[in-house]
């Protein structure tokens, strides 16, 4: 499987993990003040940031920068 396919699968796993149906009615508190459902989603936000950091590390479009710099610039379509 190529990198893009793997990233798409992990992204879809994230979408499923977002539903966390197992926490839906759990009112336990983590650290004495944070409901489990909220704590889970706080960790989810950190995991999402980590996921995108890894995606950028392994699948960064390095050629895009060079392509962007090589165009006709202001001559075509943009503000005159």
């Amino acid at each position: 499987m190529n990198k893009k396919g793997l990233i798409l699968i992990v992204f879809l796993v994230f979408v499923v993990l977002h539903q966390d149906f197992w926490n839906w009615d759990n009112s336990n508190l983590v650290l004495g003040f944070m409901p489990v459902g909220l704590f889970y989603h706080a960790c989810y936000s950190l995991a999402a940031a980590t996921f995108w950091a890894i995606v950028m590390k392994v699948a960064w479009p390095t050629e895009l920068e060079k392509w962007a710099a090589g165009g006709p610039g202001q001559d075509e379509g943009g503000s005159k």
């Binding site: 979408v15 977002h18 966390d20 009112s27 459902g37 989810y44 950190l46 950028m56 379509g77 503000s79």
Partner: protein, 508 residues
């Protein structure tokens, strides 16, 4: 009075900083519209984050948590962390590269070139404007109501607190009237956009975003202290608000279908015209890296404290029956009782509002100038003339939105916000197909825009013209509209001639 002075000092500091950025202004239209592609990673992060976070991030999230419970965070925030970052990475960076290569400063310039059509711009332009305007109205009306709330006469168990200016504003019991607060905020934002365009906007947004993030955390600390600590505050909170299960009356918690389908709404950032313009300000593709990674974390930093505040409020007898829009303000006034802190909290709410307003005003001015006046014009305009036109449009738009806000001041336009987001979200198949699908054609693009527009109007009418509305037992309309838009894009493209080789060579 002290509260108002604190707010005015904040506005003064903001204006000074934003006008300082004018010293960096290069005097060209490219600098005015997209800061000459020179904004670095930190300022891009702060300006993009500040633009996507409206007053709802502070006031609305607290109120929603007070009404629905902790499910608010998963519903609106953690999903946004995942989806927004995906949009920045997959849509933002690619559009930045295309915009930089071909000199585009608006989305419509790109779509016209990608689909080789003038007409698509004339179709898309009014729809984008129609979806941005409610967003602007919410900002001005939100400002007016926030300042009115902190300066109006209050009757509490301890006695009567007079309004801030009883001698000046008798008709409002001493509160600063909506026309004045709306006017001051409009003029502050207009002044720095007029002077420095997108560069001033980036500087102002950076300052405002830092300010409202710090204030959010600070308020939670003060409130938890007043409630005897975070543990004690959460102990007292209602159990129904510590879970996501939908209550029997449907007022607390979230339905599972709504929770799942709500993930489509954050896709709206992929089609926001003001975010397109912010992306274009980036110095390089690498500049986006910090924005992609830090955005989900920043959402957590702003939203978790507010959701905690709203949940704690459910355990306070004095908050019983409070309207969601005033939960934050009421908690601060009851528990902190310090006019300077009230002023700082109010200023932070204004910061969140203005950091979105400025980008939207600038983007509408940019679109009118480039997509309507300059497009197809046979006359050659100098850079000075282009700047003059853009500034003129911005003044006109600010004035129009200000008067429209005053006309609608007593209407519940806040309900329009979710419809504005849903419309932009439903249009994302257009930009995704344009960027990644070579077979996407003009007919497909027209089909997508028209299908989304018709379905949007239909659902909006079915909802009774605004407010919360779901279909099929809990699915949000944005999800259904997204699939309708995607299907129309695919079918329309497949039944029409593929794009020309020249177009494909230009963009792929």
């Amino acid at each position: 009075m002290t509260t108002v002075v604190v707010i005015l000092i904040y506005l003064g500091v903001l204006l000074t900083l934003a006008l300082f950025s004018k010293t960096l202004f290069r005097g060209t239209s490219a600098d005015y519209f997209v800061a000459s592609h020179s904004i670095g990673p930190f300022m891009l992060l702060m300006s993009v984050f500040g633009t996507t976070m409206t007053a709802f991030a502070l006031v609305g999230s607290t109120g929603e948590a007070f009404e629905r419970g902790i499910g608010t965070y998963g519903l609106m925030a953690s999903s946004s962390g995942l989806i927004h970052a995906a949009c920045f990475l997959l849509i933002g960076i690619k559009l930045w590269a295309i915009g930089k290569r071909y000199g585009y400063v608006t989305q419509i310039q790109y779509f016209r070139a990608r689909f080789d059509s003038k007409g698509i711009g004339y179709l898309l332009f009014p729809i984008l404007v129609l979806l941005v305007v409610p967003y602007l109205l919410i900002g001005i009306i939100g400002t007016a109501k926030t300042i009115y709330g902190v300066t109006v006469k209050k009757v509490t168990p301890d006695g009567i607190t007079p309004g801030a200016f009883p001698e000046f504003f008798e008709s409002t019991n001493g509160a600063v009237p909506a026309w004045l607060s709306g006017l001051i905020i409009s003029l502050v934002v207009l002044t720095y956009i007029f002077a420095g365009g997108s560069r001033a906007t980036a500087w102002a947004n950076t300052f405002q975003t830092v300010f409202f993030m710090v204030m959010g955390v600070f308020v939670v600390y003060l409130v938890s202290d007043a409630l005897g600590g975070a543990n004690a505050a959460m102990e007292k909170a209602k159990d129904s608000h510590k879970v996501r299960t939908l209550s029997s009356d449907g007022h607390v918690g979230v339905s599972t279908l709504t929770f799942a389908s709500y993930m489509f709404i954050p896709l709206s950032v992929g089609m926001f015209p003001h975010l397109f313009q912010h992306w274009l300000t980036a110095k390089s593709a690498n500049t986006f890296k910090l924005t992609v990674v830090a955005h989900p974390i920043f959402i957590a930093i702003v939203w978790i404290p507010c959701v905690l505040l709203g949940t704690w409020a459910t355990g306070m007898p004095s908050m019983e029956g409070t309207k969601s829009a005033v939960v934050l303000a009421k908690m601060v006034s009851i528990l902190i009782e310090n006019p300077i802190i009230t002023g700082l909290v109010t200023a932070s709410i204004l910061a969140a509002i203005m950091s979105s307003l400025d980008s939207q005003f600038l983007c509408l001015g940019t679109m009118f100038t480039n997509d309507i006046v300059l497009f197809g014009s046979k006359k050659e305009y100098t850079d000075k003339q282009i700047l003059f036109i853009a500034r003129g449009f911005i003044v006109g738009i600010v004035a129009l939105v200000y008067f429209l806000a005053l006309l609608l001041i007593n209407k519940n336009v806040f309900d329009l916000a979710i419809w504005s987001f849903s419309g932009f979200a439903a249009l994302t198949p257009l930009v995704i197909a344009a960027l990644y699908w070579k077979r996407a054609t003009l007919i497909g693009a027209y089909s997508c825009i028209i299908a989304v527009f018709i379905s949007w109007i239909t659902f909006y009418a079915m909802s009774g013209f605004g407010g919360e509305f779901t279909v099929f037992g809990g699915i949000v309309p944005a999800a259904v509209m997204w699939f309708i838009g995607a299907a129309a894009m695919i079918i329309g493209s497949l039944v029409s001639q593929p794009p020309s080789e020249k177009t494909l060579a230009k963009f792929f």
